[in-house]
Chain length 667, copies 2
């Protein structure tokens, strides 16, 4: 093994001195260029031009910004509970967060990819990865809600995910951490990493009509770390490219031990070849355990199913599926240009950016122009695959997107800048400072065949002094650039929710025309719906009490309930009878641990409560709905366990206790 | 009881037809006035002029915006769990959400009030109410974190809260819902409302140095609904004013039954008189149960204590504390002008706005100019207390703030506008449409003695078509106005998190100078801190395993752990050793249900995990911290319950299993 500790350490020192401590680039003039104010201002009543979907990183959610304004339009809960919407609190949504480990109320969400048709974003769905508990979510852009979550077996640290093929045939997912496989002996020493730890990449098929996901197959791979990936497109459709680091197979102090080799790899996967092997019966079925959660807009309820089978192909035994391409120093981003010909590997510790050619890769494979193998997988010669190198681009290249006009834009984490370069001759054309240390960048459609090359957003990892301080925890910072001209122009800074890891953007018109405004109540198939106030009721069955309650401006029905006892399992099924846009109602009840619900027009949602104390508890609408919203309240009496108070419920029977009339001296 | 059902119903019909359905005001020209773009644009690297703290309504959190940009700088978790910060997930923060009902992970947060000194905002703390489970929180503006939460006994629907006196002597809280009191028989029929249900207002003292809260006393009051409140100031310091509705004492279908009387009340409370009675020993101690939660920035841990005593004064038995002032139709807002002389009651079903005079109220009390009593509480004659009425202001007045230049600004929910009027002659001076149906409005310092009368923000209840659609759930909408001239000018629309219920704003310089950037690690008093990597360790004690782990760019120590078994209670105590601004680290471990942590520089946070399956689990840093962040990972081996694998832990011992060397064919 060729070691080169010195360059690693020196670049690492540079990282410590510059990028990491976020020192200001020299050219730290803050002024935005040109008439930036008017370019980002969206006047009252006007709409933003683009939806910008931004992953939440450690928050586990996805946020939706308008561009160019940078206004936060919505947080879509995906992998974490969300007190803004009730996701993960209601009985209906809890199953969405179920996994083979039980309910996980908080995950780490890194990347997003919009569904594509013919390599162009189509606005149907956006996919999101769960990084810690390996999962992929599908968000339905008709409702801006998480429609499906699929757990991935044989995986850990699902980082190179959820990138898709040009017709959304597959969403892929790769292990960042190699681990013992699910169906093998897992009680093994960590020091047996090289023997017992393996990596996988998974291909998940997407039903073209429903969008439903299914694990098609998993490739068994050496125990290294897979970082990022992108699909081939056009001529390279049928191939998928993954960046890999830790080819040293270190299991401790990776900052030193996984930075030893001059080159790690870009892994090229021929998934059409894998499909062939499957047709030939070469896949092996494995018994594993993973959750598959689906939300229904008809029953307004999620179901979680534990699946038990996966299909595995061992890459080293099935020639022609996987080839390794050497790539300088711990590649991070792995990006494919709009033409499908160029594959850019960004070695985060490298001082250049290699650009590989799909045609040359194909030729090298045909010519068997290999440089040995890596754990049984053929290694293509670096020079044979290379289109060329972008020289002296800056320090710490991480990610590249494309403007569709022949240019790549790469973020430089350590030197804190974005560098624009030409795909054709690999010359650097422009560079612009960012504040500070950009991770991903995003051009709308910039990882598709048809980028919308007007804007670029840098998602910076360090914020420091960019906004008013908010104590030790700061919002992270995004920066919007105009890239319509030869030179990048900084338009604005805007803070962001969670860690804005990766992002996607799409012209608004493609999505907004399909947006659902209400749920049709006549199609509400929830078993506990009350279709109209006359059907509201309270039903006891043993110690289970079902409250079928309706909401309409400005009362809940029933609003007086008695006969419920300490220890009963009470299910409040709330149906919002409204059929108008933007008339949600909320529900809160004192003393309940799942204290609240939000219910959209035409929807039914359920709150479970086991009362523990005798009392009369108020409940009320929590979403200001009308001039008489404050009157939208009621009471439930909880009696002692052995009480004989019968179940009763009513609305509008304002009975007066005659014994107390005297004290109510009215004027 | 004088009934006037007809006007109520007709105004209710108007509400249904106009305000509620959010029809566009006729003057629906959307264009912002003047050079709005440049007035709201904050160039990259420049700071906003003001912090705007906005309550989250049903989300239970508080969000911080910059003004005039409308950019969301931070969400501060208060009454709900928060996957952006780890609040409510870590062992350290879980106690903050404890109540007498157990842990409540989601509450409804309605109002905010900044601490004041001499009637001016001082930037030390901001108080927030928990509406469903009655609580008051204190947020420390040095850290932008929730420092304390106090539950309120004898309360339900803590709505008229947390308004404060001019030197932050007290924070008050009133019951929106009357209920049976905590120390009485609570298993009573709802129909016995008039006999058994009571209201309270609570005065919570605030320690001038530490800010610590304590229930000073509670006033026992008739069973009606208390809505909002504000303190007297200047000449009226010593008094507190509350709006009350449902003086009909209805307990069902309140939209009809609590809208019967022509007038409800503004309740004036002489709290200095109450203090006198307490000194005379007239308060009665009651045994109750409520949680008091305090977060320490030294131990980085919250404690929750269950308190058991409160002091109650029965208002009807102690003359001179409480007077009732008739106020037209279900008053909502109750606002006191900067001089302390004028009290504005906004009857949400009234067609005028009454303005009361403190001097006249005092004279009426001295003269006993009463109109009988309401349940034992003297009722001051309407005309005797009245300064005058703002005539024909619009439909559905809700809330009023002041510009310090002699003007009030009132939101009109039903006619969807803001109306500016003169305090002196009560003439309407200007009106401006809002989109749609504004609830609260906010002028920075607008409920203090010294408003900063440059901007006004309307927090609208209905959004509909103001932004790009996001499915059935829409962000709510705020609108920023320039009020520096005679006429209000609309500058911008910006969407907001949760339900922007009420808000406060303060010039940034008052707060930002005190902002904490890091926690001094030499003052870290957490019992599980590891002060330096050499102190990191793993300790078993029975089936409890404590992992003292450190984080520094770019490794966790230890990063290889063995000897932990299925069923062990594993506590990961993470100490972030960094002492630089904006270098948080995160921690996630696969398979854990409290899956993540975020740890600020100098801080220690704890994640509890009971592993249920044999495996080698990876863990990693979740907050992108350096060029080698992706290398900041480790493994923990979980063995079977009866296993003999001894506890071991290490960092950097990259042992290689010789049996697997052959397969690692290196190039």
């Amino acid at each position: 093994m060729k070691k080169s500790l010195l360059p690693v350490l020196s670049i690492f020192t540079a990282a410590v001195l510059f990028g990491i401590t976020g020192c200001k680039p020299k050219n730290a003039g803050n002024a935005a260029e040109g008439d930036a104010a008017s370019k980002v201002y969206v006047a009252p009543g006007k709409y933003d031009e683009l939806y910008n979907f931004v992953s939440g990183g450690f928050s586990g959610q996805v946020s939706v910004y308008g561009l160019p304004s940078g206004r936060l339009l919505r947080v879509i809960p995906v992998f974490s509970t969300d007190p803004e919407s009730g996701y993960g609190y209601s009985e209906n949504t809890k199953p969405m967060l179920n996994t083979s480990h039980g309910m996980i109320p908080w995950d780490d969400q890194h990347h997003l990819d919009l569904s594509q048709t013919n390599g162009e974003v189509d606005g149907r769905w956006i996919f999101a990865n769960g990084n810690n508990t390996p999962r992929i979510a599908r968000i339905d852009l008709k409702t801006f809600r998480t429609a499906e979550i699929l757990e991935i077996p044989n995986s850990a640290g699902n980082h190179s995910s959820p990138f898709i093929t040009e017709n959304t045939e597959y969403v892929v997912a790769g292990t960042r951490f190699s681990v013992p496989m699910d169906n093998e002996d897992k009680d093994v020493p960590i020091s047996s990493y090289k023997k017992n730890f393996k990596g996988t990449v998974s291909f998940i098929s997407v039903d073209p009509q429903s969008g439903n996901m299914k694990i098609a197959f998993q490739l068994m791979l050496p125990g290294i770390d897979f970082d990022l990936s992108h699909a081939g497109k056009g001529p390279s459709h049928g191939w998928f490219f993954f960046s890999c680091y830790n080819s040293e197979q270190a299991h401790t102090l990776l900052e030193v031990n996984a930075s030893q080799r001059d080159k790690d790899f870009i892994m090229a996967v021929n998934w059409k070849k894998a499909e062939e092997y499957i047709r030939q019966g070469k896949g092996k079925k494995q018994t594993v355990k993973y959750a598959h959660n689906v939300y229904s807009d008809s029953t307004h309820t999620a179901t979680s199913t534990i699946e038990t089978e996966t299909l595995v192909l061992d890459a080293k035994d099935l020639p022609g599926i996987v080839y390794m391409i050497p790539c300088p120093k711990s590649p991070h981003g792995c990006d494919v240009d709009p033409s499908g010909e160029y594959i850019v590997g960004s070695g985060k510790l490298a001082a250049l950016i290699p650009v590989f050619s799909f045609q040359k890769i194909q030729k090298a494979i045909a010519d068997k122009n290999f440089d040995g193998d890596y754990q049984g997988l053929p290694v293509i010669k670096y020079e044979a695959a290379l289109h060329g190198e972008v020289k002296k681009p800056g320090l710490g290249p991480l990610h590249t997107e494309f403007d569709g006009k022949g240019n790549g834009y790469t973020t430089m984490f350590i030197s804190s800048e974005i560098v624009k370069w030409s795909l054709k001759d690999l010359k650097v054309l422009d560079r612009h400072a960012t504040y500070y240390s950009p991770g991903h960048l995003m051009i709308p459609g910039g990882d598709s065949k048809k980028p919308y090359g007007k804007y670029l957003v840098a998602y910076n990892k360090i914020t420091k002094d960019r906004y008013l301080p908010t104590g030790p925890e700061l919002a992270q910072s995004a920066q919007l650039f105009d890239i319509s001209g030869d030179k990048m122009k900084l338009l604005s800074d805007y803070p962001s929710i969670g860690e804005p890891h990766y992002a996607q953007a799409i012209p608004a018109s493609i999505v907004s025309k399909n947006s659902v405004k209400i749920f049709d109540i006549t199609k509400n198939a929830n078993p506990f719906v009350a279709l109209g106030e006359k059907n509201s009721k309270v039903v006891r069955n043993g110690n289970r009490v079902d409250v079928y309650m309706t909401m309409i401006r400005s009362h809940l029905s029933p609003d007086n309930i008695e006969g419920v006892k300490v220890g009963d399992e009470v299910y409040f099924h709330l149906t919002n009878l409204e059929q108008d846009w933007d008339v949600p109602h909320g529900f809160a009840i004192k003393g309940a641990n799942n204290a609240e619900l939000l219910v959209m027009p035409g929807e039914t949602q359920t709150l479970k409560w086991v009362p523990t104390e005798v009392n009369v508890y108020p409940f009320y609408c929590t979403d200001f709905c009308s001039a008489l919203h404050q009157e939208m309240q009621g009471y439930i009496r909880i009696s002692a366990k052995g009480s004989n108070v019968p179940i009763s419920f009513s609305l509008g029977k304002n009975s007066v206790d005659p014994t107390t009339m005297d004290s109510a001296k009215s004027k």
